[in-house]
Symmetry: D2
Subunit: 358 residues, 4 copies
């Protein structure tokens, strides 16, 4: 609830973009999992500002420190608290935001909700909040891999009108990480990078689609009614900043098919039962069926742009705003580890829930 | 969790399609709301089988009975339990399902999860489970209307390739209810009905898109991190059977715009602050901004079709299945009140949460 | 929360004493447990009004009906809904309660909380609410017995100043059930019965203490911080009507000992590790240690008495009240199955939680 | 759940006694409350080791740092994270605990639950965990005081056989804080201090009773069924280390009265309705009635003593243990702010819940 996600593998994040620190408490991680900062830091590096020329140049090392929950390199079963200090705090860059609401930002709604807001950077609405998610997700990913062999791989599928064709059966993490835009198809990656650089110079921003595949998910994860696996996945990724759409399996495209075209036929696959096609996206009736889970997330273009925009202040008086912080022309390359983290958190939670009843 | 939805306005549904009854317990509804079965039954009639020639002909009256939680026509603040008996139970129509898994149904995954399943009809995976949701949603809608003037209106936007153009500012419930397909644009509605009738005769099924608009939602509803309003809405509607996609505001279409094109400019609107456009879909930073909330849900074609399909049994031996129950050629007309119910439940829950802190 | 108890083995009760029905939804019970009404009814008979001459003579058969969640005599893993109709509704017996608050009842506080109340009987505050708990507890007890061999036995230890000496190692359910007062020590039971009959004739009421022992609880149940096993047990039994005190193991008596006298020394017991004494009451650091769990619950004398009492109405005007319903001179014999149910629900919940992480 | 307490005013603690830090995240605190470390530190000083000669001499300053959730001295409505570093870590003092289980400690049960434990100090079972509770409780107390005028005052009522007589109507925080043992009755306080000093020299330990009164609680807080106010209070304080018993109002003493003696008669009190006596302890039917809430908590003598004790190791081989850390002869003086914190957290949570529905 609110700043906590999950029922058995529970994650609570805290921190504003310009306060002392951001962090997370992971409660419910099973004991005796090997875990040190070295398992977490690489994932944070993947979402770090300044990691390449096409993302925001805010200077943050984002070094994680585990405060509790491990002993002699292993998890204790007790809460794992992790923090990352904020370094690049430049409140002066945000002076106008004291009075004026940035278009399509959370300034106005936070004020409406709380009657107060931290106008420095995005406060709690900043993408820095996702540091805690990615750190927690790194633990979930490690546990899923070790316990079930589950792999969670996300990548950039589309930026504006540039779309990649990806073979979901073959895509590997190493292919994704080869390009700074995190698109595993090299030629499209090049086009995406060129597009981002062009738009960035114009002070504008871009959106797009991230796709994610989770392999080796055992059948039986997910609850049949409100906590359907696709429902929890939808919530998980739609809780990331800037998301506008979610698809599982055939998605909106599937609405154009007939039932006889859409149904996935069952067949024996070696010793297991599987389906010949996977329009279901690995989930039927809210429960995983053993096929790869496939989902897509749509991100709107980042709200912060370096162009003058019309807006109003708290009294409704009109004015103009132009961002002076460093802007992130396209959040998608950094959002790839965020999507993976959220998917991993959902799977870990449901895996623990399934253990309870079988 | 599992069969419970919401934190303060909490709904727990129960019942299988062929057990004794289906029902719901609503816990957390504020006291002193006028409420009798007459407030609930019309919504159940909207989702009832057999309501028109284009939906499933299963014979169910779906008469609701309130068992608790009201006194002299008003809510007490205590749990409101409601039940609806199952009448049209024909287990013999499902004999083959004892051994064989219906393609793209939940038969296989329930078996994998629980090691047991009610093979009569869909058991818990049946759309009958949504009776409890719709009944609970009727209460939420009434309370939202009375307390905030909130209106939640859903309608069929698309069936297969037949798409309606709807003016979201003007669409009214009475327009939606004029046609049996629940599309408020009469010419498109006609085409949709013709399409459904044609496909139904061929024993096949159709999917499509339902759109929903919620008006007069006050600014400030939604939590900024994991329980963003769009995240909870996504979970809510993606927990309905047969859903494959979710969009808020500009949705996937918005991924093709530049930030300067996508941002919603603030402006004074009478005494309030509003936005000139509404690509945000009424939500910014996870919190409602006072503009109409706009979302779309994609439904796949119904899995049950009257055509022979290949499948396997629990031992992986291949076989054939052909449904003998009445099939629902297109779930969308009946899913309209389901979508409204889920949206209303999310709004009621967040409205109560917001009351707690302000 | 509110009308729901437990995290993985979750129980939601509903119903007022004079509404249509009371009932419960059990969500999270593992699948494939044999279960029919025959497993539930005997426990309801133990808490039924009119079961003996020393309890309330309200006429209720309390016949339970399972509405969902089972199939061919086995649990499905889906919610188990159970209802019991209210029969002996005599609103006319409660006419004065429309305006006047019964002393030490919940009339005043319900009115203060909700601004409305069902003045017929106790409404939601009636002991009839515990029907749902006892029905759910019967399922938990069966599952605990079958899965771990856990036995939960409660009995009346004290009524007013009449106190029994019980050997906790030997006490058996059959001894408890031998007497209508549910005290397994026959001579004390006799005295208790005589006392209750005397006080009942005078129109007054009695309180006392119920003790409960849970045997064969495996080590490792309970969470170390807020959900300590004793904390959840305390909450569970203190949520029963009329409870005023809770003790685990040595309880308040233990406050008079020195640490060197109180500590339980570990020793090998066959192949297991156990303690030579059990002042801890089977729980250390919030987690079960394999020794019997021992707790006591203090009940105040029932508030409803057949004597004239001073009170006020909603406007603070003083008046007099004299109950005209049948009064329950001593709730303890009927509270024995309630205590067992709550203890079983806590143990089942923590057993499932422990399965998730090991 | 587990390391999280509360529904709307939610507290998550983390940290082991010898890890890097202990701390807490408070989620759900209303916005715009003035808050700095100066509001928290005094409460931590009251529970700090080394604060007087009669408590443990472990050297810890326990300086709190707020990491998030405030801005310009006010709460934002976002999670408030607070940490306190561990300083006096002397793992060498705990060498024997690597292999041997301390009697009546959590060593054995943690090992049974998790298959691993931090044997340095108490790990997560250490009283250091309560730092987070007391810090969170300080916020709850401030908010309750400011919003409702609620005062929560606890004090030491009994140590072993030394019992104080306290006038609950008059007791004030300043009287409690006058003596290092936190008993507001000076002559009894002296006797308690002398007793603690004597027992401490002998290397033994003491238990006793803390009483707590909460004044100015408005009528209507608490939920009528599982989350009765007394049930949540019982859970709250029974989740503190070393607690063995809980009483509300008349407690176990009330079991010796007749109903006609125990019932609290209603009467007009100025403009309000109140009760002439308060055996209910301020709660009826699980809901506050406006009278002072009165509860008592029994603490066993601390398990750590400086005397040789028999025990076993993980293989069941017997051995001896003698603590070498500094021992706490009596936890009660330091437990006073812990009890206040837990009571305040329950009241704040229920106050927010009540706001949601009225």
């Amino acid at each position: 609830m609110n700043n906590t996600f999950g029922h058995l593998f529970r994650v609570t994040t805290f921190g504003e973009s310009h306060g002392g620190a951001v962090g997370v408490v992971v409660d419910g991680c099973p004991p005796r999992l090997s875990l040190t900062e070295k398992d977490i830091q690489p994932e944070l590096n993947r979402r770090r500002p300044g990691q390449s020329r096409i993302v925001t140049q805010r200077q943050e090392e984002d070094i994680v420190k585990i405060l509790s929950g491990t002993f002699e390199g292993k998890t204790l079963g007790t809460p794992i608290a992790m923090i990352v200090s904020n370094q690049d705090a430049r409140p002066e860059a945000y002076r106008e935001m004291v009075t004026h609401f940035r278009p399509s930002h959370a300034d106005f709604t936070y004020q409406a909700k709380y009657g107060i807001r931290n106008w420095q950077g995005g406060g709690r609405a900043s993408a820095r909040e996702t540091i805690g998610r990615v750190a927690a997700g790194a633990i979930a990913k490690k546990w899923l891999k070790q316990t079930y062999g589950i792999e969670v791989i996300a990548f950039v599928r589309q930026i504006k009108d540039v779309m990649a064709r990806i073979d979901l059966k073959r895509v590997r993490m190493s292919d994704v990480e080869k390009s700074i835009v995190r698109c595993p198809e090299p030629r499209t990656a090049k086009k995406m990078i060129a597009l981002i650089e062009r738009v960035r110079k114009s002070g504008d921003s871009l959106g797009g689609i991230i796709e994610c595949v989770a392999r080796n998910v055992p059948p039986g994860l997910g609850e049949p009614v409100f906590d359907k696996l696709e429902a929890d996945l939808a919530k998980a990724v739609m809780s990331l900043p800037a998301t506008k759409g979610f698809e599982i399996g055939s998605g909106f495209g599937g609405t154009h098919l007939l039932g006889s075209q859409h149904n996935d036929v069952f067949a024996r696959k070696g010793k297991k039962i599987g389906t010949l096609t996977n329009r279901s996206g690995g989930i039927q009736g809210g429960i995983s069926n053993g096929e790869p889970i496939i989902l897509r997330v749509g991100f709107k273009p980042t709200a912060t742009i370096m162009k003058k925009q019309q807006t109003v202040d708290a009294h409704g008086r009109s004015g103009e705003l132009k961002a002076r912080g460093r802007h992130d022309p396209c959040v998608l390359p950094r959002a790839v580890p965020m999507v993976e983290a959220m998917v991993a958190l959902v799977l870990a939670d449901h895996a623990l829930r399934q253990r309870a009843i079988r």
